[in-house]
């Protein structure tokens, strides 16, 4: 039995068209999954069904042996945190500090520990100077950072990032990714929805959504070899692989090709 099991999952907002259509996926504990797909392909909807905010039309979701339902939703949410696509939708607290604390308060983290963690995670996302600000007065990227800190501080077993870094500058993004990598090493299961192919390359497996269906779900290295999957789903390959593919016909570029692959998969 897998850690996260999604079986025959369908969802529809208006009863007419299925926004999620017969999704079947298994995710193992400690895996890093990247989710790619065109705008409106159902990525955010999938994320919301996973945390029980939307009730599936058909199908089952099982996480760590617990099948998601009305009664078990609370139980499951203790294991899984989600950073929403629009950080504004996430703010509950009056100040940055209160907001980071909110999830921990619900988990009954003792106050002393909470204060420590707030400082720790605010520092991780570079928002230490902004603890007393109101969320409404932050810049776009700062809002995203606070949203991320609030979820990281809850130390869930699984975290879903829904385009959580889309407005960060390259440097902050890199810093954050480095930190997420260390969390992953320590066993965090990650589901990262993104349009940034370079970010997706860090995943163990990539899930490509297309019009509400699973278009492909494979190991990162494997899926990168399949240009078709990418072009037919509004996606692009990373620059290095695009170059490698264009050099594919000629044997004399073999060395360069290998290096390009090495770059894509390690950088």
């Amino acid at each position: 039995m897998s850690y996260i099991e999604i079986q025959k999952l369908s969802y529809s907002y208006n009863e007419k068209t299925n926004v999620l259509d017969d999704i079947n996926i298994d995710i193992e504990k400690g895996e890093w999954i990247a989710v790619l797909g065109h705008n409106g392909s159902g990525k955010s909807t999938l994320a919301k069904t996973l945390v029980g905010l939307l009730e599936p039309k058909t199908g089952d979701i099982t996480i760590d042996g617990i099948t998601l339902g009305e009664e078990t939703a609370y139980e499951i949410r203790k294991k899984i945190g989600i950073v929403f696509q629009n950080p504004d939708n996430q703010f509950v607290g009056v100040t940055v500090k209160d907001d980071i604390a909110f999830g921990m308060e619900n988990l009954c983290v003792p106050r002393e520990e909470m204060l420590e963690k707030i400082n720790f995670y605010a520092k991780k996302v570079n928002m230490l100077d902004f603890l007393d600000k109101e969320p409404a007065t932050l810049s776009g990227g700062q809002k995203q950072r606070v949203a991320i800190a609030g979820i990281l501080a809850m130390q869930s077993d699984i975290i879903i990032f829904d385009e959580a870094t889309s407005m960060l500058d390259p440097y902050s993004k890199e810093e954050l990714i480095q930190y997420i990598k260390t969390l992953h090493k320590d066993g965090l299961t990650i589901i990262m929805i993104t349009h940034d192919i370079n970010e997706a390359l860090l995943a163990d497996r990539i899930l490509v959504m297309n019009k509400g269906k699973v278009f492909a779900f494979q190991e990162t290295e494997k899926i990168m070899k399949d240009k078709e999957t990418f072009t037919s789903s509004n996606l692009e390959l990373p620059v290095a692989l695009e170059l490698a593919n264009s050099l594919a016909q000629d044997d004399k570029f073999k060395e360069i090709r290998d290096k390009l692959w090495e770059y894509a998969l390690t950088k």
Binding site: K133, G141, D169, V239, Y263
Partner: protein, 286 residues
């Protein structure tokens, strides 16, 4: 002349934490024609604040700003028709949620044009046209903008400004949240508008690949200061961009990696994949 900043600073005041100066002593000029400018800088560096000045949505707290000959100061001037400025300079907000407010996508896109005395039929036609331009089909016209996916909202918010047909377009992170194909389509669209009409376009982005490929002028903000104004290539030839929280475009990074790991000597300053490819193929023959 289009927009000129004269030593503009902007401080936000709030009860909670007093004064916070978001942009400091900014001076530069944007011509009303032929400009295609990227605005980059770290998170919180003041890009959005700067952009909101460009159509007088917020006023400088010190310094002045000229927009199409009108002088904007820290006070509202009764003689200035701000609505005219907003018609001339269209601004797409960073968060589409801040821009969408009507019940249907069609009404929302029509809102801008309708304020400028055109008939309902014309506005409807415009709405449809702009919606198609940003890659959404007619079925979205009747949808509620709040029930769209993130990327779809972004597209609708862009369509709402395009429909106003402004003389200068300012777009705050228009490509964040778009899928790669959409990003390409919209960047080509902006470039196309610019090429055909010579209108000036200013785009805020964190995507260095786009900066390198599309733009001929880049402004860099850092902690509220404008620290660079010039050719992107010049910027990317600088060392240690990371200290300004920027990065190099992927083509440069990849070619540089090839040079270092294979001990070859490619010219790394290639804007596009095609150019990079030619460089690799050419170099290998040597």
């Amino acid at each position: 002349m289009g927009i000129r900043f004269n030593q503009v600073s902007h401080g936000y005041t709030s009860f909670a934490d007093g004064l916070y100066t978001a942009i400091k002593d900014i001076s530069f000029e944007i011509s009303d024609k032929n400009e295609f400018i990227a605005l980059v800088g770290h998170t919180g560096s003041g890009k959005s604040t700067l952009a909101k000045h460009m159509n007088a949505l917020i006023f400088p707290t010190s310094g002045t700003l000229e927009i199409f000959g009108k002088t904007i100061t820290s006070k509202r001037d009764k003689k200035i028709k701000y609505n005219d400025i907003r018609k001339k300079v269209g601004l797409v907000f960073q968060f589409p949620e801040y821009q969408l407010f009507e019940e249907t996508v069609e009404k929302d896109i029509m809102f801008g044009p309708m304020n400028f005395k055109i008939s309902k039929e014309e506005a409807k036609a415009l709405a449809k046209e702009s919606l198609n331009l940003v890659g959404l089909d007619d079925s979205y016209l009747t949808r509620n903008p709040y029930n769209l996916s993130g990327g779809e909202k972004k597209r609708v918010s862009i369509a709402g400004i395009l429909a106003m047909n402004p003389d200068i377009l300012v777009l705050d992170e228009p490509t964040s949240g778009l899928d790669p194909a959409g990003r390409r389509v919209l960047m080509d669209l902006f470039k196309d508008i610019h090429d055909k009409t010579k209108k000036s376009v200013i785009i805020i982005t964190h995507d260095m690949d786009l900066v390198y490929q599309y733009f001929n002028r880049v402004l860099v903000m850092n902690e509220g200061h404008l620290i660079f104004d010039g050719d992107p290539e010049k910027l990317f030839r600088e060392k240690d961009l990371f200290k300004n929280h920027l990065d190099y475009p992927n083509t440069i990074k990849v070619l540089d990696y090839l040079n270092k790991s294979l001990g070859i000597n490619l010219d790394i300053y290639k804007r596009t994949i095609e150019e990079a490819l030619l460089e690799i193929k050419g170099a290998e023959k040597l």
